[in-house]
Symmetry: C2
Subunit: 199 residues, 2 copies
Amino acid sequence: MMLYTQSFSKLIDIFRKMPGVGNKSAVRMAYYILSLSDSEVTEMVNVIRQAKEKIGYCSVCQNTTEQDVCEICSSPKRDKSVICVVEQPKDVVALEKTREYYGTYHVLHGCISPMDSIGPEDLKIKELLERAASDEVKEVIMAISPSIEGEATTMYISRLLKPFNIKVTRIAYGIPVGGDLEYADQITLAKAIEGRREI
Amino acid sequence: MMLYTQSFSKLIDIFRKMPGVGNKSAVRMAYYILSLSDSEVTEMVNVIRQAKEKIGYCSVCQNTTEQDVCEICSSPKRDKSVICVVEQPKDVVALEKTREYYGTYHVLHGCISPMDSIGPEDLKIKELLERAASDEVKEVIMAISPSIEGEATTMYISRLLKPFNIKVTRIAYGIPVGGDLEYADQITLAKAIEGRREI
């Protein structure tokens, strides 16, 4: 016999496609849906649909927003002369949580990755160059993860930014605060030595 | 500043309510929704809505089904003289996977639990008694988890079944196959000794 009915199997599949959700979790989520009341399911479906409809990308920094220009880009308190380039909107959230950065952002929405056939034209690089062309911008901070694809993207963009006469920097890579030398991987350790500073 | 837009926060909340989903997973899922195309979101929303609409409970065994009477209850191959009583539809799936049981099921949809104000009238016990009243039924196997609430439910139901002159049994509790005595908890070990059989 089939263990699950057709609609239920479809429901499991929907959840299984989500990041970090395995088979067992997907089944639990599907049962959770059945346990909800009709109005709760309607509410859930509406929230999903509305989020997709309302949330777009900021016309300046390409971060997710419900307006044309996002809260950060339209804030007079933010320093428009500095742009921090990140891969994903969640990286903006991570940096905002530090409460240490008062510049603006630019979200690329990915990395150059020939393996996944993602080229520079698939990322928001053109939009970054347009912003860099303005006299206002003095510094671009590259905050891309130090993977092979990330490194390639960082190098590619910094080369494109050269002609604009803008300071291009990158965030420091090294031992995390509270981390143990013993457990750090070799590449991180090498980066930490390379990036040493006088005390 | 708000880290997430309003619609996005709502979306995160929807996922965070799901079983086994923490804060970080909920955020990842919400970003996943944004990464979907419009048609994929429409498809997802439809699957959720349809599952909720189409899936109901079998009028005989109360298991989830898309028909009036489920596949198991309507199958001529299943032994209608034996009813296995379980808490949840997922327990039926677990037992079906063994391919060792050819009787029918009865899903209670919970356990008697005064702490959560779930009384006998909130469970599908009345429906079980109606089935037990038929001459066809010879044995009821109680397969409720051996928690305090489960034990209470097992005892409560077996007492109600007494007058029907039906054999009432329960599944064996003991050391799981492949399990190690050393790591078994005391209660399981006590149950294993109590349930010993001659070899």
